[in-house]
């Protein structure tokens, strides 16, 4: 399916209003201080069409921060799996985050498959939104090849002067545009405007680091013992912000929470972070990654080195969240450039 329709900007508010009456719609809203978050909306007016990447990526709908996965009873020795899900439309996903979702889909659909994730994934409709401008100095979406749409959505919106140009990629998407008279067929003028926008983007979006995409793996493979990691060791405070905001971090912890009857209880899965002090701590008190620098290096290797071996993909989408949120201003682009600046 490869079809384009248009929605008048003046009809956008009504479109979201009517859509939110049929299912829950999540979209980026302004939280102040140039921060944004995906939240439930019931009208287009609440949505920030122009936004830098949200505090947390839309990952939170596919893999919630906290999720009950099991209910058990000790005495009866019984347990039953729990699936928490609801149909959702997530509107306004930038191309970097669409890539993040596709990477997570790959992780959780590769055996051993994650049933809860897959069930939720199938129940979520994703509506992408094109970045017409470069968001800020932290992004590196261009070198990661995620500044233009590369699939991973049901519908994809591009803002033109009077309309939204909408690419329909799936049947799920077509159901939405076909369910209302607000969408009309795209005319050649629309296609031309889209083409112009995309070629303007080629000027606006440039590789953000001194190395090319295909050199990144080799760069990280040869700099395991670099002094750059020592510098980061001295700066990182291990607050875990970088991993918590990452669209592709998927490490989790599982804990049992017993009820007050001390018999029944639930098993809860929650996000974990390799940056936390206790992440690599084992029985007996040994900590395999005691140094904050080695934890940071591990994070980078998971994005640019190990993931190539396992999934043949970089696990950095270039969204820039880790640099944007870092209290110590550890900056991904600077790290890459510093590593590249070292003698081979």
């Amino acid at each position: 399916m490869d079809k384009y329709v248009v929605l008048k900007k003046s009809d956008f508010n009504g479109f979201i209003k009517s859509l939110s009456k049929t299912q829950k719609v999540m979209a980026p809203v302004a939280k102040g201080n140039n921060n944004y978050a995906f939240e439930e909306v019931s009208s287009g007016e609440e949505i920030s069409i122009s936004h830098i990447p949200t505090i947390l990526p839309p990952k939170k709908y596919f893999m919630p921060q906290r999720e009950t996965i099991l209910a058990f009873s000790k005495k009866e020795h019984e347990w039953k799996p729990i699936l928490e899900k609801e149909p959702l439309v997530v509107f306004g996903i930038h191309t970097c985050d669409l890539e993040g979702i596709q990477l997570l889909n790959k992780v959780f659909t590769t055996p051993p498959q994650d049933t809860n994730y897959i069930n939720r994934m199938n129940d979520i409709t994703t509506i992408g939104l094109e970045c017409n401008d470069y968001c800020d100095e932290y992004a590196s979406c261009c070198v990661m090849n995620n500044h233009l749409p590369n699939s991973g959505y049901d519908l994809f919106f591009t803002e033109l002067s009077n309309d939204f140009m909408v690419h329909i990629l799936t049947e799920k998407g077509e159901k939405i545009t076909g369910g209302t008279p607000l969408f009309s067929e795209a005319q050649s003028a629309h296609h031309k405007a889209l083409e112009q926008l995309r070629s303007k983007k080629k000027e606006l979006f440039k590789d953000e680091v001194v190395v090319q995409n295909n050199e990144l793996k080799e760069l990280f493979a040869r700099t395991v013992h670099s002094a750059v990691w020592e510098d980061i060791q001295n700066r990182c405070v291990a607050c875990g912000n970088c991993t918590n905001v990452c669209p592709t971090c998927y490490c989790f912890d599982i804990k049992d929470d017993i009820n007050l009857d001390l018999n029944t209880g639930v098993r809860i899965r929650s996000w974990d972070s390799c940056q936390n002090e206790t992440f690599a701590k084992v029985a007996g008190g040994e900590n395999f990654r005691e140094e904050r620098g080695s934890r940071q290096r591990h994070r980078y290797m998971r994005k640019f080195n190990y993931s190539i071996g396992k999934f043949n993909k970089y696990f950095c989408t270039g969204c820039g969240r880790c640099s944007r949120t870092c209290m110590a201003k550890i900056n991904l682009k600077e790290t890459i450039n510093s590593l590249a600046g070292e003698k081979k």
Partner: protein, 257 residues
């Protein structure tokens, strides 16, 4: 099932953490299905010296307090330090900023000679503690977790990562981005960033993480142009008695060498 006998005690504190238990609402009924409360000054008149679990609020600030907590420890099978005053010294620790004699006279004036006083100590700085429920006041969901662990004979691990971890998961706008100083980056998580969720800063009431990055933290303060004294003053509010732990640690290290 025989109910476990639980006694609540208070030392130097405002008893606000115990009030949190009284304010639990319906969940309190479930808790009471599990335990028999035999001592709780705020809610009942009965007293008993027969108990399995002692929940101790407040810090130890007098010789009399030392004797009393030792007696409680000798009776209780399990001792839970409850609330910041008990777990880290809390606001009472500010007393340790002054000369003992000066502060005694300042507080008790002409009657000072009636009141024997010692520098503020957290409960574990006097007797061994089995469980810690940090917070000012305690975060009730954490207290319930600790209680369940204690009654099941399981350990409870206080999170040792920063409040920022939970705060980020709750998707709050960072206080530093708003230009406000917050102690989240050096304070132990476990409260689900309760204060920040409600628009307040983190005051560090749960105590510091065990391995704070001193150099990194200093860089951050420089970057945000926050004077070190501000943070020290803020830390002083709850964490002054931490110096007792550091002194003890130093003594132990010297003995090892």
């Amino acid at each position: 099932m025989k109910k476990t006998k639980v006694a609540f005690f208070d030392f130097s504190c405002c008893e606000g953490c115990q009030l949190q238990v009284a304010n639990m609402g319906e969940a309190l009924l479930d808790v009471l299905d599990l335990i028999e409360v035999v001592n709780f000054r705020e809610v009942m008149s009965e007293r008993s010296d027969d108990y399995d679990v002692a929940v101790v609020e407040g810090s130890i600030t007098s010789p009399h307090g030392v004797e009393r907590i030792k007696k409680i420890r000798s009776i209780a099978k399990v001792l839970i330090a409850y609330g910041s005053c008990a777990t880290i010294g809390g606001v009472n620790g500010m007393k340790n900023n002054f000369e003992l004699e000066d502060i005694r006279k300042y507080v008790y004036q002409d009657s000072a000679h009636h009141f024997h006083t010692i520098p503020t100590r957290a409960v574990h700085q006097v007797v061994p503690v089995d469980y810690f429920v940090h917070g000012c006041p305690v975060y009730i969901p954490e207290f319930v977790k600790v209680l369940k662990s204690a009654l099941s004979g399981l350990p409870y691990r206080v999170p040792d990562d920063a409040v920022c971890t939970e705060c980020k998961l709750n998707e709050n706008v960072c206080m530093y981005e708003k230009g406000i100083t917050c102690l989240g980056p050096i304070t132990r998580a476990g409260c689900n960033s309760w204060c920040v969720n409600n628009g307040n800063i983190c005051y560090g009431c749960r105590g510091m993480v065990t391995n704070p990055a001193q150099k990194g933290q200093k860089d951050i303060l420089d970057r945000y142009q926050i004077p070190m004294e501000w943070i020290e003053n803020k830390m002083n509010m709850y964490n002054k008695a931490r110096e007792n732990d550091l002194a003890e640690e130093k003594k132990n290290n010297e003995q090892k060498c």
